[in-house]
Amino acid sequence: MSERKNITVHEPLFHLAKRAQIQPWKAWAIRLAAIVLGLVVCGIVAFILIERLHQNPDRIDDFYYSFIKGSFTSNRKIWKFLKNMAILQCISLAVTPAFRMRFWNIGAEGQTLMGVLGCIAVAFYLGGTVPDWLLLVLMFIAALVCGAVWGLIPALFKAKWNTNETLFTLMMNYVATFIVSYFLVIWVPSGSSTLGKLKYGKLPSFGHDYLVIILVVLLLTIFLYVYLKHSKQGYEISVVGESVRTAQYSGINVKNVIIRTMLVSGLLCGLAGYLIGAGLDQSVTTESVGGQGFTAIMVSWLANFNPLVMLITSALISMLNSGAAQISQDFNVSGALPDVIVGIILFFIIGSEFFINYQVIFRKADRTAAKEGVK
């Protein structure tokens, strides 16, 4: 039988197989290759979309240079990049405990916004009437309480009635936005709904305006790493995340863990809100958080929920954002282009995970030849 050679065989061109394990350097090589490939595609897209590039192809160098220029060319830009990264990192840390528990909290945006609102409300009403240090403390408490409440509401519903946390937290974002609009209408009678910078309640600065924020977030990163990795509560979070049945078997009160963990998430969001409100803006708008609550989900996910690795991913995403913004400024193109660029690169980064988990096996060359012989 086996002597029959030239038979028509329709073997598929390639098939996929799950990898059992991959060496870390290989995984990183795949990720790096994906980013490079993403940048190349960005260049091609930009070449097609931007007229100036179209007419003068040599300027493609400028295109990539702008990317780096966005974050690193001046002292001011480096500080700004570090600040952006710190805030993003803080919110990413906030969503992480819940995510490790497989509680898909996509309400960090709203929780952080409520934190900003809480601390600004205190500054608005009490500014000037109490000593500065007391005002800052009260603002801090208000931010944490607001963030925690916003995180606790969906957690209580989940624990009590097993509601879907994803929808619930998403909707809570909109509620938060409208609450902010409501207060802006009350606080700014002129009708412009833009609250100017408040005079009171600014975080003291050492060295540089942003240094306090960066240090706080660094400490928080270490704290959360230890909390998740070495504390009993962190252990419980991992067990609940893996399997509720296992958690019950081991005697863990799953409801309590859900509530407690969302409390932690909410508190950290509140803290991020405080850093934004008291540390940077001294004001609140519906755009105070600016979508970072959603970006944080990706940062946390890409880092595999590891607070230390998150430092890398939040830096990467911040760099992408400021680089893309710089391009739109330098080339004088529409504000949608940065979104396109960020989208393309993220697509490649996330897509690369597929090739880390699976391998593609192509049909062997000799069989291909055999197939082409007969039809």
Binding site: M1, P12, Y235, S238, V239, S243, T246, Y249, G251, Q359
Partner: protein, 566 residues
């Protein structure tokens, strides 16, 4: 025997990552024969068959059907070649009728007429001696009826090679006999039947030839008439294995766990346990037999505090034991009062009344754990959480059926899994990984767990090693009662015997062992008594030393009204 080749495979290789599931396997199947594929779990039996059925595509090798080379890329290709597979996990739509499931996915010319289909299904059933109602919905069917639907589904598509993946795993002895009769009839009709199994006596009773696989390689194909249980095992495992379980006589038997009139109602309002009453004694293994889903899982979970109990009692008889008093629950004044009532004694059993001692001296004595009292003997575990049960000092170990979904955390290493039941120990908010790590290393050494390291996620370990980790942890807890649900399911012969040996050792140490099993031969060899349950009620208790498989099989399908005491 006819010698017409129906299917042959040459040099079939399949890899999953670095794991070679099949390594250059050659296999021939003749027309009109029953070929058994025998091998331990994970030796690549199912993978090999999946490649014939179009589920997987081989990395290397060729398949020939009736002498012609073929390429099978999908189940559709397989059906076109008249190859059909009956999977271990049925692939049926619950809401459809038998006939609708059978016709699902069949691409026929002409008008779609359910009546025609029903008639054809009935005709096939009649031809081979099945009993089936084509209009019955799947959700109303028993496991064996569902299997019948799967088989007819394949026959309906005109298959002349049928592959059955562990068809007997879920059937009672009587149902197995019936299935084998049907298989013989199909064989007489000229069909080739491939049956995957790891039960030796079934291989010997039903097959014509046996192909043995070991670690992905084809070891040999022998005629069944020339084979014996021990020769097959030797080929399967690669070395001689003793198939005897040493069963010692129970010593110092005392009632340890008494379950009385236990009733449980699940979340859907269905009564899953009905008036269950039994006693587990120390120093014996109590087997629980029953068709899958008869309430075994619920019974163990109710005892472990994981399933709400509607009515009834779970009484735990703790042997008398000296326990040191602490100030954790009692104040100094209370301790002094109790001492005056002769509640305490020292390590030699002499009463302690703290006469002439200062408060500081009393405190020192208590702190040194010299002041002992006798613990309560009887405890009711009804509606206590697992945590409460443990804090009562009841050492109840539980090896659940779902190892990675309940007993262990798949993504964690062995060390972290060791802490699962004990991580609360110690003060402070941080976990202590030193002791769990030592325990993990001890279990790896003692039970010969093969793992790259203590921190390798247990999900990556083989079924046998996962089970060793779980059983090891539960035994390390020094239990008084050890409950194990299907502890050898999916394990190879060597690992299975390791587990039997461990359970026997626990029994000799005076533990009351409750063993839920599915292989009746093992239950009869290992246990002292066997409790048979059906639909959540006890249908009989048998002495394992005198009972027969048929007796158990009968009780497994009997209803409570025909209750019989053994």
């Amino acid at each position: 025997m006819e010698k017409n080749m129906a299917l042959s495979m040459r040099g079939i290789t399949k890899r999953f990552g670095s794991v070679v599931a099949n390594n250059h396997v050659d296999l021939d199947v003749y027309q009109g024969e029953i070929l058994a594929i025998l091998g331990e779990n994970g030796c690549g039996k199912t993978t090999l068959m999946n490649m014939i059925a179009g589920i997987y595509f081989p990395d290397e090798g060729k398949i020939f059907k009736d002498g012609k080379e073929v390429v099978i890329r999908s189940p559709k290709d397989a059906f076109a070649l008249k190859i059909g597979m009956i999977h271990q996990h049925f692939k049926l739509v619950d809401l459809f009728t038998a006939a609708e499931n059978i016709v699902l996915g069949v691409d026929e010319d002409g008008r779609y007429s359910m009546k025609d289909v029903n008639n054809r299904v009935s005709a096939i059933a009649q031809k081979y001696g099945f009993h089936i109602d084509p209009q019955k919905k799947i959700y109303d069917m028993s496991v064996s009826e569902k299997q019948t639907v799967e088989i007819i589904k394949v026959l309906y598509r005109g298959a002349d090679i049928l592959i059955l993946d562990e068809p007997t795993a879920v059937l009672t002895p009587q149902e197995i006999d019936k299935l084998f009769e049907v298989l013989q009839r199909m064989k007489a009709d000229g069909k080739s039947i491939i049956i995957i199994t790891h039960k030796l006596h079934e291989v010997l009773s039903v097959s014509d030839r046996v192909a043995i696989l070991r670690k992905g390689e084809h070891i040999a194909t022998v005629n069944t008439c020339d084979a014996t249980e021990s020769s097959l095992t030797e080929m399967m495992v690669g070395k001689k294995v003793s198939l005897d379980i040493d069963r010692s006589e129970p010593v110092n038997v005392q009632p340890r766990l008494e379950v009385k009139e236990l009733n449980c109602i699940d979340a859907e309002g269905i009564q899953v346990l009905k008036d269950i009453t039994f006693t587990a004694y120390s120093g014996e293994i109590l087997g629980i037999a029953g068709i899958a889903g008869s309430g075994q899982k619920e019974l163990l979970e109710a005892i472990a505090g994981l399933q709400p109990i509607a009515s009834g009692q779970v009484i735990f008889n703790n042997p008398k034991k000296d326990k040191p008093v602490t100030f954790f629950h009692k104040s100094l004044r209370k301790v002094k009062e109790l001492a005056a009532q002769d509640a305490f004694h020292d390590k030699n059993g002499a009463p302690m009344r703290f006469k002439g001692m200062t408060n500081a001296q009393i405190r020192a004595q208590v702190a040194a754990e010299n002041v002992l009292f006798r613990e309560d003997e009887v405890m009711n575990l009804r509606n206590k959480t697992p945590l409460e049960i443990r804090s009562l000092g009841v050492r109840l170990s539980f090896v659940p059926e779902d190892r990675l979904g309940m007993g262990l955390v798949g993504s964690m290493g062995i060390t972290d899994n060791m802490m699962l039941r004990s991580y609360r120990k110690g003060h402070g908010g941080f976990v202590d990984r030193k002791k769990p790590r030592a325990l993990a290393e001890e279990i790896i050494k003692e039970l010969e767990v093969s793992t790259p390291g203590v921190n390798t996620p247990v999900r990556r370990l083989s079924g046998g090693n996962v089970q060793k980790v779980l059983v090891g942890r539960e035994i390390a807890f020094a239990p008084k009662v050890l409950m194990a649900a299907y502890p050898v399911r999916g394990l190879d012969i060597n690992s299975s015997y390791t587990i039997y040996h461990l359970l026997n050792k626990q029994k000799e140490n005076g533990v009351a062992v409750i063993f839920v099993g599915e292989d009746l031969d093992v239950l009869l060899d290992l246990c002292d008594r066997i409790l048979v349950i059906n639909s959540g009620a006890v249908t009989g208790t048998l002495d394992a030393r005198t009972a027969t498989k048929e007796e158990i099989g009968l009780l497994m399908t009997q209803t409570t009204t025909q209750r019989k005491e053994g």
